[in-house]
Amino acid sequence: MKNMTLCTRLNASIYILIALLLSLIVTACTTTTAPSNTVTITYWTHVNPPVNKVEQQLIARYEALHPNVKITYLPVDINSLSTKLTTAFAGGSGPDIFNYFQSYAPALEQRGLIAPIDYTSFGVKDENAFAARYLPSIVNGFSYKGAVYGVPHEISSYIFWINTARFQAAGLDPAKDFPKTWQDVATIGAKLTIRDNGRTKQEGFTPTLYNSLTDILNLDAMTHQAGGSLFSNDGKVATVNSPAAATALQTWADFAHVWKIYDPSLSPASGGVDLFGNGTAAMTSYGGTFEVSVLQQDFPQTYKHYTVGPWPRFANGPDSGADLYGFGLYVSKTSQYQAEAWKFARYLADNGDTYFRDAGLWLGDNATLNGSATRDFPHWEVFKAAFSSGVFLPPLTHFTQITDIIERAIQRSVLNGQSAQASLDQAQGEIQPLMYAWRGRQAASYSSEEEAAFR
């Protein structure tokens, strides 16, 4: 070394460094390409502690039954799941299987990111045989362009909740005075509302707000009840400013502005989901089976004094309740383990009893609906009737954008007092170009005959 020049020593160091780096790269490559019999499936879902606990136990059992399969389980906050999923797919990664809100799925299908169900994993030949596992309307919510993409994994529908103690304090009979129509809600709500110096101490009724998902479901259901619909069945035509939709939204706004039984200022941004639980609101139109355990754990006082019934209807309107909505298990089209992922989905779907008994979650299956797990569930017949009569929103490829537009329309009427018709006219103007874009042409290029054909 002594005889080496500075330049030679530097060169030697560089060669040694390059050799080390190359050996590291070779080692790394060898490690990743090492043959292995273990299949690792990544499963993403949304955070829901009781359900997450159940799934961790089910996964442990599945791995014990299938020693060559390893499940990487990742619960993600529900508000960021959509963004994380899309960015992961954009980056060429993403989970093999994921639990996702069914109305978001058409956008993923349009981008070629999800695979249709592999019926053989469920031991059946076709869609009809697969659909027989569920109530007749359930699988429709997971179908798109004639194929089924999601395994129903959480199905719910809202029913109507009242606080019996508040009813009795107001001199009302919870059984006899239970509201059957929206007009009843207004009349009874007025008797339940308590104000002091212009400030609301007790709301007669609280719907949801500031949650674009629940709010579009509520508006859609009320529009059906008023004899119309927000969208065509195939989701290609928007009719959000129809007279029925305007009636629905105006009723919602009138609870705040005309009947004054609902005070949106009590729960800005949070949308009032806790107001029924903490006793501030005497009635609410929000809550499915999950609400029972929420009341039991977080609001024991209200849990002692609640009862439920069907969603109110419009007098002389169609006899329909709240919308159905749900989450499904979807398998990524880019997954190299699609078959294994569908098998895992089948395993989870076959454990409907466990999901319901331990987490209050109904997977939409007939076996659980009529089985022992649900028999002792409080007011199960009311929920069951709601599941049987509800319908899903149609598939919408711009679902997120459309729900945001509808949410602003609802807020314009319910909060700002704008007439429902004017607010929905504006929403229709914003939504229609999205529909045209989906059909692949500019609005101006459609003839009136073509437009009529779509309708």
């Binding site: 959509s82 963004t83 899309t86 960015t87 797919f89 954009a90 956008a107 981008r111 070629g112 990111l113 110096n197 212009g198 400030r199 609301t200 101490k201 500031y210 005070d263 949106p264 200022s265 009590l266 729960s267 800005p268 941004a269 949070s270 711009h398 997120t400 954008q401 945001d404 602003r408 329309a409 807020q411 314009r412 909060l415 700002n416 504006q426 914003e430």
Partner: protein, 305 residues
């Protein structure tokens, strides 16, 4: 030495030959560049490259997945007729106007009061700074409770104002919270500027019979002008890139009345998956920011006293 090197290696275009033909200044420039390269390289990778990419994407139709398709100025022309974009742009400007100058002036007044060294100043200073160090989420949750219909503000003042659920009140309520949040930070900066002014000026003014207001107007204010400019520019920049507070406080509602441009850009990119349109909005926001800052620099530029 360089001539010797040239003789040793006479191969055409060799590195040593190239170096030999360089002037000393050129060689120093290259060496200098090599030294700053570790600093510049991340800047190019993480700032310049994403900005250039974003500019390219703003001329494309890209839905995050798949290949971007060039469509010229389509995204920019679409924005001309986009009511949501117009509403958010106006909200952003209203927040900038509503927070920048009031924050700076309020910070100036508080700095003067703190500089007066009244009793218990040591207690006041941390109190003013406290909102700045509180996490944004905590601040927003606390203020949303204050602003509730039956919250502490209405109860304390005997009012029944729907602060966050009425489009007329929601933006002023948000602006007030933003001013409160940043007051401590701006006051500290302003106080440093005020305390930098030599006391001789005030003594001379006092001998000439000037009162406290005249001294503040004719001495303090002109001499803290650069600090004032800094505060106004930072407050404007904060307002133009505002995201977290309205997102947590009102979710942009009611009906978009408090939805700033940054929130709309985020929604457009990651909820609606329209990256081209979102990047076009970002560049309009960038140009707007540059314009506003240029005007501020021009208006508050140093002048002779």
């Amino acid at each position: 030495m360089y001539e010797q090197l040239g003789k040793v290696d006479s191969r055409p275009y060799s590195k040593r030959r190239v170096l030999a033909h360089m002037t000393l200044a050129q060689r120093r420039a290259i060496i200098g560049l090599l030294f700053v390269l570790p600093g510049i390289l991340p800047l190019f990778i993480f700032v310049v490259y994403p900005m250039v990419s974003a500019l390219y994407l703003s001329f494309t139709n890209w839905q995050l997945v798949g290949t971007p398709v060039l469509q010229g100025f389509g995204n920019y022309t679409d924005l001309l007729g986009d009511t949501q974009f117009h509403q958010s742009l106006i909200v952003t400007l209203e927040v900038a106007v509503g927070t920048a100058l009031p924050s700076a002036l309020l910070a100036f007044v508080v700095a003067l009061l703190l500089d007066a060294r009244v009793r218990f100043t040591g207690w006041y200073q941390p109190l003013f700074f406290l909102p700045t160090i509180l996490p944004t989420v905590v601040t927003a949750i606390v203020w949303s409770m204050f602003y509730q219909g039956n919250g502490i503000i209405n109860a304390g003042l005997g009012l029944a104002i729907p602060w966050l659920t009425d489009a007329r009140w929601a933006l002023p309520a948000l602006i007030f919270m933003l001013i409160w949040t940043n007051l401590g930070y701006f006051t500290v900066i302003m106080l440093a500027g005020v305390r930098n002014i030599p006391h001789d000026y005030y003594e001379a003014a006092r001998i000439d019979g000037a009162g406290a207001f005249r001294m503040a107007w004719h001495i303090t204010l002109p001499l803290v002008r650069p600090v004032l400019l800094f505060v106004v520019v930072i407050a404007t920049s904060n307002a133009l890139t505002l995201f977290a507070q309205p997102y947590l406080l009102t979710q942009g509602g009611p009906a978009g009345a408090t939805r700033p441009l940054a929130e709309l850009i985020y929604d457009t990119a990651f909820s609606y998956l329209n990256i081209g349109k979102a990047t076009a909005m970002s560049f309009i926001l960038l140009l707007l920011s540059l314009l506003v800052v240029y005007v501020q620099f021009y208006v508050l530029r140093p002048k002779d006293i």
